[in-house]
Symmetry: C2
Subunit: 247 residues, 2 copies
Amino acid sequence: MSSSSAAPAERPSMREALVSAAFRLFLERGYEQTTVDDIVALAGVGRRSFFRYFPSKEDVVFPDHERCLADMTAFLAAGDEEHEPVRRVCDAARLVLRMYAENPTFSVQRYRLTRKVPGLRAYELSVVWRYERALAEYLRGRFAGRPEGTLQADVIAAAVVAAHNNALRSWLRSDGVGDAGAAVDRALGYVQREFGHAAEPAEPPVRVHPLPGGEGGRPDDVVVLVSRRDAPLWRVVQELEAALGRA
Amino acid sequence: MSSSSAAPAERPSMREALVSAAFRLFLERGYEQTTVDDIVALAGVGRRSFFRYFPSKEDVVFPDHERCLADMTAFLAAGDEEHEPVRRVCDAARLVLRMYAENPTFSVQRYRLTRKVPGLRAYELSVVWRYERALAEYLRGRFAGRPEGTLQADVIAAAVVAAHNNALRSWLRSDGVGDAGAAVDRALGYVQREFGHAAEPAEPPVRVHPLPGGEGGRPDDVVVLVSRRDAPLWRVVQELEAALGRA
């Protein structure tokens, strides 16, 4: 568990003691059967101390998401025009993975608990939604002025979150064994291949020569494309789509 | 409001009367300030009748999602191998749009209410999650056996939901004016263009000739691609990626 926190910094160990006591009780008795009073009694502190760090019992289950959301927002805000936008949101998603991978045992325990308690699943969905909105807002800014900018931003943000969570949950289901980072890289690589073209600049050197036909060509007509090796792939595809009559 | 329901069918009008009374009170007094007792008093029925149709006060806000989820699941189950999978999940998402578009006034009222009440937003997120899982489960089945099948299924399901909701929410924010169906078609078209290749069979006739170089080619080397006009675009792109050294 990380010691950093948005809560008062003078006594980080109390916060950690509360999380630790809470999880011990959740695992022994179950989440629903554990009260905040039980948690503070085991941690040896008062109720007010608990609520200084956590607004509710649910929040002690996800003690690091607020910090991680703040880190993600700061990371995205620190980006500039030189960062390819899809790559940037994939890198932002890796901050979430890092939080889980910092402490596999805790992450796996929490995953099992969350599967069992509907209230915690709902809480988790709202956290995931906030990550997704942070990514989407960043992309909306980068895609501003495009006709379909907000649509592309929302779709790509959702795809990044889904890919990240697909890999993260596989890792959690396998009890945190294996390289979570490599799995998430693989999953995000799929999204980058699908959408990485969405933000590259225009005007690459590509020429397509449909032979012989033009518009009404037959399916087995031949298309010849000549491209510089450094032409952006999306531009090559755009030319091809036009030539094949599928744009 | 549709009259169909998963609840007892003998008196559909009571269910509608409850929804109607609930929304009148939500709009007059606010959601939090309205109790189930207030709703049943206005509708002229007893508390037990309310709970026969709706498990909680939140459920009366979303009276048709259970039916729509059942319709979606049935629609997907009725598909066969001939349906292109990405198109099929896009068509399934259109069932949700149809439910909203059936009654624009009600949908817009609910949208405004949901923006204001955190508990309803959380409820809505859980409903959206269930739609997304229904789409993902269908795609996982269709993509079974592929190395990255579950990843692709999860990402495409999330993209479909995000595109649908982007268009739906624009329409709701504009007070239900304009053609919601056309907006959703446009949004889903983007997803189909990005992912429509994900389920096509392999082996199209495409050949790429990198000239002169091979692996270590310079950026301004020329690549020549020869393709039949009917070659699937994704296959052309795959060949290009390999030739350009970006696969």
